[in-house]
Amino acid sequence: MNTKHKPWYAIVLVSLFLLLSACSNDKPAKEADTAAEGQPAGGIAVYGSHDDIMTFWDPSDSYSNEIIAMNNMYETLLRYDTKDESFKNILAETYNVSDDGLTWTFTLRKDVKFHTGNDLTAEAAKASIERTIERGKGAAFIWDPVEEINAKDTHTLEFKLSYPAALDTIVSSGYAAFIFDAAAAEENGGEEWFNEGNSAGTGPYSPEKWDRGSQLILDSFDEYWGEWEADQYQKVVFKTIQEANTRLQMAKGGELQFVSQLPNELIKSVEEADGVSVHETESFQQLVMMFNTEAGPLKDSKVRQALAYAIPYDNIIQDVLGNTATQSFGSIPAGLWGHDSSLHQYNQDLDKAKQLLEEAGVDGGELTLTYVSSDEEERQIAELLKIELAKIGFELELKGMLWDAQWDMSKATNPEERQDILLMYWWPDYADPYSFMKNLYASEDEIVFNLAYYKNEQYDQLVDEAQEVAGVDRDKAIELYKQAQQILVEEVPGLSLYDRKYIRVINDSFGGYEDNPAYPNVVFFHDTYKK
């Protein structure tokens, strides 16, 4: 609270308090806990978010913003580190995979306690994953390759897979891979109990108070297996502050340690402010243009290539996004294994575009582009595309829609009723290129995510093979994904326009923070400290 000056009403308030206090005998105020040795004493860290922090509390179902807080209450067996594209052991001490890639064995840490007071065992870990699979909500589908889970002994967990998938990427997912005390949670009432603001995780922080729509306060977990240092934070508060300007003012005023997102136009004033700084990091988020390969003029790959040469990449990145993005290479974002910056990158070349159209025998036409109406950047990009595509003879009809309506249209039974171009953001559920390569472009009998309606047997084979060897031979998988991406570059069923950057505003006293795009917007507060 800022108390630079005493306002006039302070006198009235003081008198009122004295009067009222006289009527009250009990003193609810309690002193701040004095930190014991090996306990955090860094005070309070406050995270400012534009959106409501908690929607679903159930760790099996969580598939939204709540992972920001959940990843501080719950832990996974492994965690993907984008810096060196490796996997860090979290609840697993060691792990190994059989030669055929079908059996993965994890040895669990022995000193881990759940927030419920019970010990982490292989049986408990198995129960938590099985509960997530059984409920089948949120991102539970990530466990599809898992056929059987066995608790070999108290601390040995074995997974039997139906095909050699990259289980290390799955168990490190920020969604649906949390290990928790399922038995205790079910005894207490399951989902209802979670939704009351309870946690059954092993994470460094546990929920203390939840004010819906306002804030979530987490308290450091005394029995956390990781060590506590004196400069680490005792409490972590996640605040929902919808107004960007208010978030900015609070960050400048030192009331927030971390602001997850701010509009580009406000960033400039932060750069000039004292006590706060702007951090730019890569994200796994790509803006993807999906072309209708089943109907209309875009059935022809030459026309799609022409469109790819007509896009004003530099204008989009500089003028619309204020350089908070970089043009994508291929379809796998930078930082995610499988990304390849040697792939061909389209640039704006209207002559080349016109030449390709001539070769295809297409003389322009009308195209429909759909985008999410609430996204101002998408709208501006769509307007730019309308101007540029007109230069090669295409009249673009722009349709700003709610995302569900946009998806509804994209799945129309008659391909002629679908859009020609669809703009959407895409990011992986876990650190695996599979989410981009398989979901977006592999042949589908029933349309789910492949909104380009693309069908290519050779591509399908490459992606399936890459997925199957990813668990045992990552290098080979990367090579296969590269070949698959080359097909996408040539055939252009869709096009990743740019990799979005995350812009964070961070208080200078907030140390140890490193962005990990595999866990969007998550701050692992146990890794941070007060400077």
Binding site: P28, A29, K30, T55, E208, Q215, D404
Partner: protein, 340 residues
């Protein structure tokens, strides 16, 4: 009086039905797929089909409406598409904090507006009158969200007197916690005798309340002034002067009492205005109330919530107006005679 009440209540129910039908139809006409929203962006066709059954969206539109109306009477106002929680339960969580600033703002408007209105009537065409006119017109015409930001700029940024937003500071919430009883921080902390919390919560609520007070303050001041001027010109006021009553007694006992009718009516109308203004004010002050809840619902096209809030606001508006009419009938015997 009873006939009047019955007529108003029946009319109110008719209006509520109309509003519920319109909001229900709008929610269904807008191109959107609530079942897909229920599951999330990466829903499969089977998941969407299952969600349709779960949400009753596979039934004919007419049956859906009948079920919705039935639910309204039995406390089942539908389930939020984004949070999967009952709408009524969520409404009741967010309502108290909105009422806190709405009622606080109205109170400020009454306490300041009525004396100011009387003063301007007494000192007509003096500088007090001109100043008050400026304040009133400003209060009514300045957009609430703009005023909110200006108040933040002055009282937070420059003077540092009040916090930027939120209901209570983090430190206070952590070190001096209170139990939730009514949902109003001011009432709950006062009841529990937690004066540290109370002062912090009051400190946080001053700017939102002042913003909220601006519109009703303008209305109350102008209404009181014009009613007072009208009443002062009445014959009986001249009689009170002839009887030699003091100026204060004549103004407050004989003139103000009779001039309060239009002020109370306008206050009822401004309450409905406040319910919608709070949407903007809460957004600027990060005040987790009904407004913030609704604006989030609008942004995420959460139709059950939008419909629930619309019906709630309509019902509140009707009830407040009914109460105003009853109050007027009690205060002014002439109204009672007319309605009966």
């Amino acid at each position: 009086m009873i006939r009047f009440l019955i007529r108003r209540i029946l009319l109110g129910i008719f209006v509520l039905f109309g509003v519920s039908l319109i909001t229900f139809l709008i929610a269904r006409v807008i191109p959107s797929e609530p079942a897909a929203r229920w599951i999330g962006p990466r829903a499969t066709a089977e998941q969407i089909a299952a969600a349709k059954v779960e949400l009753g969206l596979n039934q004919p539109l007419f049956m859906q409406y009948i079920n919705y109306i039935k639910g309204l009477f039995t406390g089942d106002w539908g389930v939020s598409i984004t949070s999967h929680q009952p709408v009524l339960k969520e409404l009741l969580i967010f309502l108290p904090s909105s009422l806190e600033i709405i009622l606080g703002g109205m109170l400020i408007a009454l306490i300041v507006g009525i004396p100011l209105g009387v003063l301007t009537a007494v000192y007509k065409e003096t500088w007090i009158d001109h100043l008050s006119r400026g304040i009133s017109i400003g209060g009514v015409s300045i957009p609430a969200f703009w005023l909110a930001m200006i108040l933040q700029l002055i009282f937070y940024q420059y003077l540092g007197w009040f916090p930027l937003g939120e209901r209570v500071s983090t430190e206070t919430a952590l070190l001096y916690p209170i139990e939730t009883i009514t949902g109003s921080n001011l009432i709950d902390s006062a009841v529990q005798g937690n004066w540290v919390y109370f002062s912090d919560a009051l400190n946080h609520s001053i700017l939102p309340m002042l913003t909220m007070a601006a519109f009703p303050l303008g209305v109350v001041t102008r209404m009181t002034r014009s009613s007072m001027l009208e009443v002062v010109g009445e014959e009986y006021m001249r009689v009170t002067k002839a009887f030699g009553f003091s100026s204060g007694v004549r103004t407050f006992k004989y003139a103000l009492k009779n001039a309060m009718g239009p002020t109370i009516t306008s206050l009822g109308l401004t309450f409905a205005y406040a319910l919608t203004t709070t949407f903007l004010i809460e957004s600027v002050f990060t005040w987790p109330g009904l407004g913030l809840y609704t604006s989030n619902a609008i942004l995420s096209s959460d139709y059950p919530v939008i419909m629930g809030v619309t019906i709630f606001v309509t019902a509140a508006y009707l009830i407040v107006n009914l109460l105003v009419d009853i109050t007027l009938a009690i205060l002014d015997p002439r109204i009672k005679v007319n309605v009966e």
